[in-house]
């Protein structure tokens, strides 16, 4: 209970928000819009899972938005060229892995600070993509949306896939040696080295995995509509990092829980829809969003303040 206070307080904030909606705007819970909303969050959730690993490893990756854009355009162009979906999927994941591994190599191999490295790769991929695509949408062939399934089937499939992935990752972080290595390296890389863990390989792995998940997420985004916008990753990094830190992942590594990240993401993602449902005017949205982020963590701050020794 004490250990998971942050996660629980975020979950409580989310529950409170949903409760208010249930009372004031019950139509919020009608199935179709809810399903569409949740489906729209699946790519972010997948990226957030990877980002959580990287942050727990005491690193950060702010290039995921750009990576996401590149992967989405790659996937879109391949799909438009008529290649089958598995090829599209694996190429996108592969591109993500390559970009993630590059970050990982620069960080772990050369020992550069990750925020600087990924700041650099962020602008690199973003500008390269801008020069290459000039903002042009990629129109996809008809069978691509929802993997060629019906809308309901496609949405269910995406949500299930994302949740299964989340559960698997959460299980692995707790029960696989590799997951524990990430925690260990994030807590103290030197101690990890002395314990016989290879911090470089662990860090490289975390970045590569984040890249792969970003590639996967890009495809999950691409199949949701008949066209790809090249700037579709803009702002994604901020969103998933916010979800992680609000969800209780410690920015200086070693602590965090993927279910907390899930709660954090849902909380952040539900603010805007909630405000619309409560008929709050748009120019209040950002301010309220900021307030909710602060309030969600203030509870935690008050608690630690009281119990500080």
């Amino acid at each position: 209970m004490k250990r998971y206070f942050r996660e629980l307080s975020v979950a409580a904030a989310l529950a409170l928000l949903l409760l208010v909606l249930a009372l004031v705007a019950p139509s919020f819970f009608s199935p179709q819009p809810l399903l569409s909303r949740l489906t729209a969050q699946t790519p972010s959730l997948v990226v957030a899972v990877g980002m959580a690993l990287v942050i727990i490893c005491r690193q950060i990756d702010i290039s995921v938005g750009s990576q996401f854009g590149v992967c989405a355009v790659v996937a879109g162009l391949l799909a438009a060229a008529g290649l089958p979906l598995p090829v599209v999927l694996f190429t996108s994941i592969g591109s993500g892995m390559v970009m993630g591994a590059l970050n990982g190599w620069l960080v772990a191999g050369l020992g550069l600070p990750s925020i600087v490295v990924t700041l650099a790769t962020m602008v690199t991929w973003q500008e390269a993509l801008r020069l290459f695509q000039q903002g042009k949408f990629v129109n996809l062939p008809p069978g691509t949306q929802w993997f060629g399934l019906r809308q309901l089937g496609g949405q269910t499939a995406l949500i299930c896939a994302a949740l299964v992935l989340l559960a698997l990752a959460a299980w692995a972080m707790k029960n696989l040696a590799a997951g524990r290595f990430i925690y260990a390296v994030g807590t103290d890389a030197e101690a990890a080295r002395l314990a016989g863990i290879n911090p470089r390989r662990t860090t490289l792995g975390a970045f590569t995995l984040l890249g792969a998940l970003t590639g996967l997420a890009a495809v999950m985004n691409v199949v949701q509509s008949p066209q790809v916008q090249p700037t579709c990753g803009a702002g994604l990094e901020l969103k998933v990092i916010a979800a992680c830190v609000v969800g209780g992942v410690a920015v200086n590594g070693g602590r965090g829980n993927l279910w907390g990240v899930f709660a954090g993401l849902l909380l952040l993602a539900m603010i805007n829809p909630a405000l619309t449902s409560l008929h709050v005017e748009a120019h209040w949205e950002k301010a309220i969003q900021g307030l909710v982020i602060l309030l969600a963590v203030v509870a935690d701050g008050l608690r630690t303040r009281r119990s500080r020794r």
Binding site: A25, S27, F28, S30, Q32, P33, S36, R37, A40, Q126, E127, R130, L131, Q133, Q134, G135, K136, F137, N139, Q151, N221, S225, P226, Q227, Q229, P230, T231, C232, A234, G235, N272, P273, T276, S277, H279, E281, A282, H283
Partner: protein, 317 residues
């Protein structure tokens, strides 16, 4: 209050190529990429050098910086699409004082800061066309919502004002329920449209006034199973909306011929620099487009064009 129009004609007469700088509101955006295409065609035709640069995201301060950089670089004409009407006028006026011709296109600055405005449609024209089309689609009554790029975008603010003015004046039975920003993101527009559809069950129409928002809103309506029930219209490119228009999800896409806008802008810029286009002229003959009407200092490209199911296949941009 404008200087003599022949001041920079010497540049072309001494044999040096004219340098025209074209400023988009933002780069890496298909609308302005299409403008650039038209502009490059005109530049090649006229044998002038074309510089194309702009902020990589819509940033009014960056536009000023780029203009000031061009003044120092020594361009002959600046053709600008102004993110920010007043914000950029200072920089443009300073450029004028250095003898640089200023032409604006797409969205204007204050009249004293430029010679001509290549007018594809006035803010008033756009606002009224949007509102009138929406009213027609809804049968002049019911709720509608707007999706814009950001709440602060200057031209969209102008359009919204005109939409609201038209609404107040002509359509008392219609009601604007909400205006949401989408940050020029299709996916965010889709999310916002989903929310709006959910929060306002009686909604008749969504009006998307930035181009990524049109397909975004259409996808939301489609997913909600309300195609045709809730009408979608907006300002956008035919290529991004073709399928939705054909499927009857989007009823109307409004735009002008974007490539021609770029073409005409460069034609006018060069003519203004050479002195063949002067204040007070009533028409302007521009290459392949032929004679264009000039109202005061506005060169009129033509009325906004409404793309529908019937005509959308004729346009490829």
């Amino acid at each position: 209050d404008k200087k003599s129009d022949s001041s920079s004609a010497g540049n072309s007469s001494d044999g040096k190529k004219l340098t025209i700088a074209l400023l988009p509101k933002s780069k890496g955006n298909q609308y302005f990429a299409t403008v650039e295409k038209g502009a490059r065609a005109a530049a090649a035709e006229l044998g002038v050098e074309l510089i194309y640069d702009g902020p990589t995201n819509t940033d009014p301060a960056k536009q000023n910086e780029i203009v000031e950089g061009w003044v120092n670089y020594g361009v002959n004409v600046i053709a600008a699409a102004c993110e920010n009407r007043e914000g950029i006028s200072g920089a443009l006026k300073a450029a004028q004082e250095k003898g640089i011709k200023i032409v604006t296109y797409d969205s204007d600055t204050t009249p004293d800061a430029r010679s001509f405005f290549v007018n594809q449609a006035t803010a008033q024209g756009i606002g009224e066309t949007l509102m009138d089309t929406a009213a027609k689609l809804c049968g002049e009554e019911g709720e509608f919502a707007i999706i814009t790029a950001t709440l602060t975008a200057a031209n969209m603010t102008e359009w919204r004002k005109n939409i609201e003015a038209r609404l107040a004046a002509k359509y008392p039975k219609m009601k604007l329920v909400t205006t949401k920003p989408c940050d020029d993101q299709k996916d965010k527009a889709q999310a916002e449209a989903t929310n709006i559809l959910n929060a306002y069950p009686n909604l008749k129409c969504i009006m998307a006034i930035c181009s990524p928002a049109v397909p975004g809103a259409a996808e939301a309506v489609k997913q909600a199973g309300k195609a045709g029930v809730v009408k979608v219209l907006g300002l956008g490119l035919p290529s991004e909306n073709r399928q939705y228009v054909k499927d009857g999800v989007t009823q109307a896409v409004i735009l002008w011929k974007v490539e021609d806008l770029g073409y005409l802008t460069i034609q006018a810029a060069v003519a203004a620099a050479k002195g063949t286009l002067k204040t007070g002229d009533k028409t302007f003959t521009s290459g392949k487009l032929g004679a264009m009407e000039i109202q005061d200092t506005d060169i009129i490209l033509g009325k906004p064009f409404v793309f529908t199911k019937e005509n959308i296949d004729q346009f490829q941009f």
